[in-house]
């Protein structure tokens, strides 16, 4: 099936109109595996999974579509739809403010934009500083330029540091239901102990450094702060 992604995308959309969501997903997955992606592709995959009652994967693709300007708002609508369904099923958990703050730093801060702002301030500050020294010698101009440049440097260092720190964490979506969250990997949890459970469409923060130590298991933290280990196969990384 060697075709242009747009042609395949159109065919997938046709399958969606025919309510053949499984076939549509097959086509969309083929495009995704070719390495070419787009916001509408992820958004339509999210809808297809939603109609196949796979809330986890629907949420996963809606989250992915929010990274594109043209589908950012629609993606948020999709996530809201999934959350509505989770509420009706009694599996929705609200996010604690402290973890919301960390999630913003890790995943929503847009480290690149802050780095670009830092570079802009640095360049502007240096130009003002040099002008204050050479072309229009004025101590106040030079100090102002230096302050702006230092602010730019601080912003760059902070943004790059947070970006590197955030690289140790990934956001993921749970794609299976009733997954016991275990205190240790490879541990058989007694059901009588009623362990915390992860449900489909839970967005989780995954600690990559810890997860790399155990094959097939990942260390996650839920939005309500509950953390532990679940099988790697039950999470899709954003």
């Amino acid at each position: 099936m060697e075709e242009r992604p747009q042609a395949l995308f159109n065919r997938g959309n046709f399958m969606m109109e025919e309510q053949n969501y499984a076939e549509a997903l097959e086509i969309f997955r083929h495009i995704e595996s070719s390495g070419l992606v787009s916001g509408p592709l992820f958004y339509n995959m999210g809808i297809s999974h939603l109609y196949l009652d796979s809330l986890g994967k629907a949420s996963f693709y809606f989250h992915k579509s929010t990274a594109y300007r043209e589908t950012a708002d629609r993606g948020q609508e999709g996530i809201a739809a999934v959350e509505r369904l989770m509420r009706t099923r009694g599996t929705f958990i609200p996010q604690l403010p402290w973890y919301a703050f960390f999630d913003w730093f890790f995943f929503y801060m847009n480290h690149l934009a802050w780095i670009v702002w830092g570079l802009f301030l640095l360049n502007a500050g240096v130009l003002v500083l040099v002008a204050g020294w050479l072309y229009r010698p004025d101590r106040r101009i030079a100090i102002a330029g230096m302050a702006v440049a230092v602010a730019g440097i601080i912003l760059i260092i902070a943004s790059v540091s947070i970006s590197i720190w955030a690289n140790g964490y990934r956001q993921g979506v749970v794609v299976a239901n009733n997954v016991p969250i275990q205190p240790q990997p490879d541990l058989i949890v007694d059901e009588d102990m009623t362990p915390d459970l992860a449900y489909e469409a839970y967005t989780v923060t995954l600690d990559q450094r810890k997860s790399n130590l155990h094959e097939d298991w990942v260390h996650i933290r839920l939005r309500n702060g509950v953390s532990g280990w679940i099988p790697e196969s039950t999470v899709r990384l954003l």
């Binding site: 992604p5 747009q6 159109n10 959309n13 969606m16 109109e17 995704e32 390495g35 070419l36 992606v37 787009s38 916001g39 509408p40 592709l41 958004y43 339509n44 809808i47 939603l50 109609y51 196949l52 009652d53 796979s54 986890g56 589908t71 629609r74 609508e77 999709g78 739809a81 509505r84 369904l85 009706t88 099923r89 009694g90 480290h111 690149l112 780095i115 570079l119 640095l122 360049n123 240096v126 130009l127 500083l129 040099v130 020294w133 050479l134 440049a149 760059i156 970006s163 794609v175 299976a176 239901n177 009733n178 997954v179 490879d186 489909e200 097939d216 099988p231 790697e232 196969s233 039950t234």
Partner: protein
């Protein structure tokens, strides 16, 4: 050394309880035929055996008689009835008793053991008669044990025929001589030592690199106590130090390298013999380095498998079973297809069986768990493959049957394990009040039309050129600005630096101004002034009151080269003397002006 392992049940004399009244038993046998099945089931479960630690022993030496009862479940076992002995005697009629419960390949086994210490009295061939033992109020008997007692200090075999062995040596003993690829070989590192030697401790001196073999450590299996053996007529103690399971990973000739240990030993016997080469003093403790001989094995290729099954590289005695974690699952829930391979063999090398699953299931990366039976003297246990399936549609689905091929190394043939088909019922969650299909509040419409395609991979920002460009540019501008700023600052604050830096400009400007002057003598005066002022500025001298001689002297102090000094001296003198010349030549003037420019340029490089 175990001399008899055959259970008493196999013998006609021990297949029924008691010995008397065989005729009566024959009649009773017919009468009680319905009960015979029960009795035989009871009897087949119990194995009774007797063994001695050594069947060849010298008079005066001690040895152990072991009576063992094995059963699949706990039994009421009484002490054995000891037979009368000839040529030997019991040192104590009370046995050392032990009982052990083990689970091997999923089969429970209870072992009761009675150890009696005996003393060999007279030389000759003797028989230890059957030992009677009562198990659950039924009587069983062992087979007789035959043994030979030689005179004390005498060896029955001629010395010439005997292989001379050292007092202590290390041997690698393998369970298989001609293994096939992937077959389990139990390798035991065995220490043989004479009775006069005490082994206190030992440690492995070199890592054992068994290239070509996948190795598993079996040292957690129960340790055996040293036992007495006779090697070429010489009594030795035999102790298994380490035990490994080796699995050849390729066919052909493979060599097992030597295994090296260092043992701390002591000569403790009442006598010493000719072979006591390790010691130079009675009772002295020594460290002895020992190693096994390398062993060459010819690994055979397994026969071609039949085509009607799936190979999973299993080799040994295995049982294969496939089950579901649950038969009924809710939509969206995961269900595990558990394939368990249990038994003895190459557990670690077994690969995951591949099954066909209905398209309505999402399959995820399977999990793999090995549970080893640590107490087993060989590699045994179970390996579980759990395929995680997530149901996406409600309904009843079937996973088709499958045949797994396992090569049984004992029977030397492939065994077929048929896994029956499995049925999964996927139901909608009754607790979910609403499903997607019924939820009309969802108003999400797919995006159609032309879209912009991008590459999925987005490299980090520090891999982009503009990031580094935007960092380098301000750094360069800053460095340039700082340098210029500092230069300007020094020019305004340091007079001597300022005079020195501006001397050239000042001199060039004055020399250019001569073009507007017509008087030749005046021009010579300017050349003199330019040259003397330039030198004064460069070497920080006062501009006024300097004689030509002083200027030349200062140049000498600054190590200016002699030809340049001479040229300066000549030009200054010319400027001084030309005032007294009535009509100085204008050609000379031009030459001297050029000389003044050259001199300033030359002096710039030297002072």
């Amino acid at each position: 050394m175990r001399s008899i392992t055959k259970p008493a049940d196999d013998l006609p004399s021990s297949s029924t309880p008691g010995e008397s009244g065989q005729m009566l038993f024959a009649i009773l046998f017919i009468a009680l035929l319905p009960a015979a099945g029960l009795q035989s089931a009871h009897a087949s479960d119990i194995r009774v055996s007797a063994s001695v630690s050594s069947t060849h022993i010298a008079a005066g030496q001690q040895f152990t008689l072991t009576v063992e009862v094995q059963s699949r479940e706990p039994r009421n076992v009484s002490n054995p009835e000891l037979p009368e002995l000839y040529g030997m005697q019991y040192l104590s009629s009370l046995p050392q008793t032990s009982s052990r419960y083990s689970l091997v390949d999923g089969i429970a086994q209870m072992t009761y053991r009675f150890n009696y210490t005996l003393l060999a009295m007279e030389s000759g061939s003797y028989e230890i008669p059957s030992v009677y033992i009562s198990v659950d109020d039924r009587e069983y008997q062992t087979r007789p044990v035959y043994m030979r007692i030689r005179p004390s200090g005498d060896d029955s075999r001629p010395v010439t025929r005997r292989t001379r062995r050292p007092d202590m040596f290390l041997e690698l003993e393998l369970s298989e001589k001609r293994p096939i690829r992937g077959q389990q070989i139990v390798a035991e590192i065995v220490l043989y030592f004479r009775n006069t030697i005490e082994v206190n401790t030992f440690h492995v001196t070199e890592g054992w690199q068994t290239e070509g073999f996948w190795r598993e450590d079996l040292n957690r299996s129960p340790t055996r106590r040293p036992e007495s053996v006779i090697l070429d007529g010489t009594p030795y103690r035999r102790a298994v130090l380490n035990r490994y399971a080796l699995f050849p990973t390729r066919a052909g000739e493979l060599t097992i390298p030597p295994f090296s240990i260092r043992a701390s030993v002591r000569q403790s016997g009442r006598f010493r013999d000719d072979h006591s080469a390790f010691f130079d003093g009675f009772g002295q403790q020594r460290n002895v380095d020992l190693k096994t001989s390398p062993k060459l094995l010819r690994i055979l290729v397994p026969p071609s498998p039949p085509s009607d099954g799936q190979l999973i590289s299993a080799l040994g005695q295995f049982h294969v079973e496939r089950t579901l974690s649950q038969d009924v699952v809710k939509l969206g829930e995961s269900v595990d297809v558990i394939t368990e391979i249990s038994g003895t063999g190459n557990l670690g090398l077994i690969t995951r069986p591949v099954f066909e699953y209905p398209a309505s299931f999402d399959t995820h990366r399977p999990r793999e768990v090995i549970e080893r039976n640590e107490r087993s003297p060989q590699m045994s246990g179970s390996k579980q493959f759990r395929d995680v399936l997530i149901a996406r549609n409600a309904g009843t689905f079937t996973i088709p049957d499958n045949t797994i091929l396992v090569y049984d190394d004992a029977r030397r043939r492939y065994e077929r394990h048929i896994l029956p088909e499995l049925t999964i019922e996927v139901v909608r969650d009754p607790n979910a009040r609403i499903t997607i299909a019924q939820d009309h509040r969802i108003r999400l419409t797919p995006i159609r039309g032309s879209v912009t395609w991008t590459n999925a991979e987005r490299p980090p920002v520090w891999f982009s050129w503009w990031f580094w460009f935007a960092l380098v540019i301000p750094a360069g501008v800053f460095a340039y600005g700082l340098r210029v700023h500092q230069y300007q600052k020094k020019l305004s604050s340091d007079d001597s630096f300022s005079r020195r830096e501006r001397a050239m400009d000042k001199a060039t400007k004055l020399l250019k101004s001569t073009s507007r002057i017509t008087g030749t003598k005046e021009i010579y005066g300017i050349i003199h002034k330019v040259l003397s002022n330039y030198i004064a500025d460069r070497i920080n001298l006062p501009n006024a009151g300097l004689s030509d001689r002083q200027i030349v002297e200062e140049l000498r102090k600054k190590n200016v080269t002699q030809p340049v000094i001479r040229r300066v001296h000549v030009l200054l003198e010319k400027c001084a003397t030309v005032r007294y010349t009535p009509y100085p030549s204008s050609r000379d003037l031009m030459t001297n002006l050029s000389e003044a420019r050259r001199l300033i340029s030359d002096l710039e490089a030297e002072i």
